[in-house]
Symmetry: C2
Subunit: 286 residues, 2 copies
């Protein structure tokens, strides 16, 4: 049923979605647009796009599904620009990492019978480095693709059917879908995604200060250190909008971990340390 | 030159050393001993040992090199037991994760011309789970094997030659060797090994409390969460002695990270966050 897709944004996720759709058998047209031509050309040359659009709004109008694959504030900007030029025959969806503001905007600008539908989405997949060149048809395989759809929205029949079909393509790309309330989404990803990132950033920054002048010492840490600091390579540009749009949840998780580390520090020689290890073991039980 | 090795302890590292020595072409005899017979039998059946000793002190006397592959306090106990029964024709070495106490004991009980030599060693290799069954001939490949030898020690010519030969076998097992002062060793591994472990433990324990009742939510975190909590599976039994013998260094690293996390938390919406990401990026630059 979906036959024409426009992908706005050719960082890592947009081209990966194009490649994954192709690998899953999508036979329609994929039009792409990016603010910088280099990323768009890379995506085109990889086969993630069929054509590069010069006018993104026109490309959106000519497609059935618009996939916004840009940072969160850019997503919110596109939502305001797209809402007046699209109609009930369109569906817009996104890949933004926080969902409260995007879902609120989706209710405000979309999702009534006279407007385009908007299905807020968030694939839990990525790499610590971005860019079209790292686009990967298997990026979403085995990942969870979250949606924060609101059951109260009244979409046009056409956009509702497109949303149902997009969910099928997400499954065909290899992802498991999970529906969450947008507030619960932001709280949950605060714990399982944002906290691990900010910890890896803080740990990497601290270690750069302590042992960064002696590169041979990094090798000493081996696989464990490499894993615990891999996300330290993530660029600020990828995380700025998350820090701004999920601030309170991230603050809560960071404060909780600070307290937990202090508890470990104060109990290195007491039985409390055993309890802490055993509680951690439970999280990793098979 | 080394032709007879005794390995005391058949957890993960002892059998891995046996297998790695074999893979590197060691043609001599490897005698093993373990407090529990099951681990010893597993190591024997894997080919990591040639024979299981019933009397560890006799096995040590009949070997040239004794590899202590047991936890830190057990290593210290063995050092006291072995020193009086071995002589200048022997070398003892170990794999303990902290080196200040072991190196001090090595100076006290070993390393004079009338005594056995003791070469304090620490391969930076391991797994988050222990046991002979996980023994792996490639465990030390690409790892750094640290030594905290003291240039002031005056070893017998024979034990000095065995120490030099043991270093060659360590290289043959695929490890890069690095010599450090024992105090610097404990400080360094506090940063690059112990801190990452205690962070993973605290993070895993915290997440068990927050999302542990909803296993499907763990999947949401994907690869990043799996990596950041893999070490959460490490057992207390493996880390207790480290917490006890490197307490001050670990306290310092934990306190430094707590302060760093608080700094991130207080600056989620300021340019300081960019600086923190850029500093972290530097740690991970290729």
């Amino acid at each position: 049923m979906i036959d024409r897709i426009a992908i706005l944004g050719t960082g890592l996720l947009g081209p990966s979605a194009g490649l994954a759709l192709r690998a899953a058998g999508f036979g329609g047209t994929i039009t792409g647009w990016n603010r910088g031509m280099e990323g768009a050309r890379t995506a085109l040359s990889m086969g993630a796009l069929d054509v590069i659009a010069t006018d993104p709004l026109q490309a959106a109008r000519e497609s059935q599904v618009v996939l916004l694959a840009v940072p969160i504030y850019a997503t919110l900007d596109w939502m305001e620009q797209l809402a007046p030029v699209l109609g009930p025959e369109h569906l817009v969806t996104d890949v933004g990492s926080t969902k409260a503001q995007i879902t609120a905007a989706a209710g405000r600008f979309f999702n009534n019978p006279e407007r385009a539908g908007f299905l807020p989405g968030h694939p839990m997949a990525g790499k610590e480095r971005g860019g079209a060149a790292l686009g990967d048809a298997n990026l979403f395989r085995g990942a969870v693709w979250l949606f924060t759809d609101d059951p109260a929205w009244q979409r046009s029949a056409e956009s509702a059917a497109l949303a149902a079909d997009w969910r099928k393509w997400v499954a065909a790309m290899g992802s498991k879908t999970l529906d969450l309330d947008s507030a619960r989404h932001d709280e949950l990803v605060g714990w399982v995604s944002h906290l691990p990132q900010f910890v890896a950033t803080a740990l990497s920054a601290l270690l750069e200060e302590e042992v960064g002048d002696a590169p041979e010492l990094k090798d000493v840490g081996g696989r464990a250190l490499r894993e615990m600091t891999r996300l330290g390579a993530s660029p600020y540009s990828m995380w700025r909008d998350i820090a701004y749009t999920n601030t309170e949840a991230v603050e809560r998780t960071l404060l909780a971990l600070e307290q937990r580390l202090a508890h470990v520090r104060e109990n290195l020689k007491t039985p409390e340390l055993r309890d802490e290890f055993e509680q951690a073991n439970r999280f990793r039980r098979e």
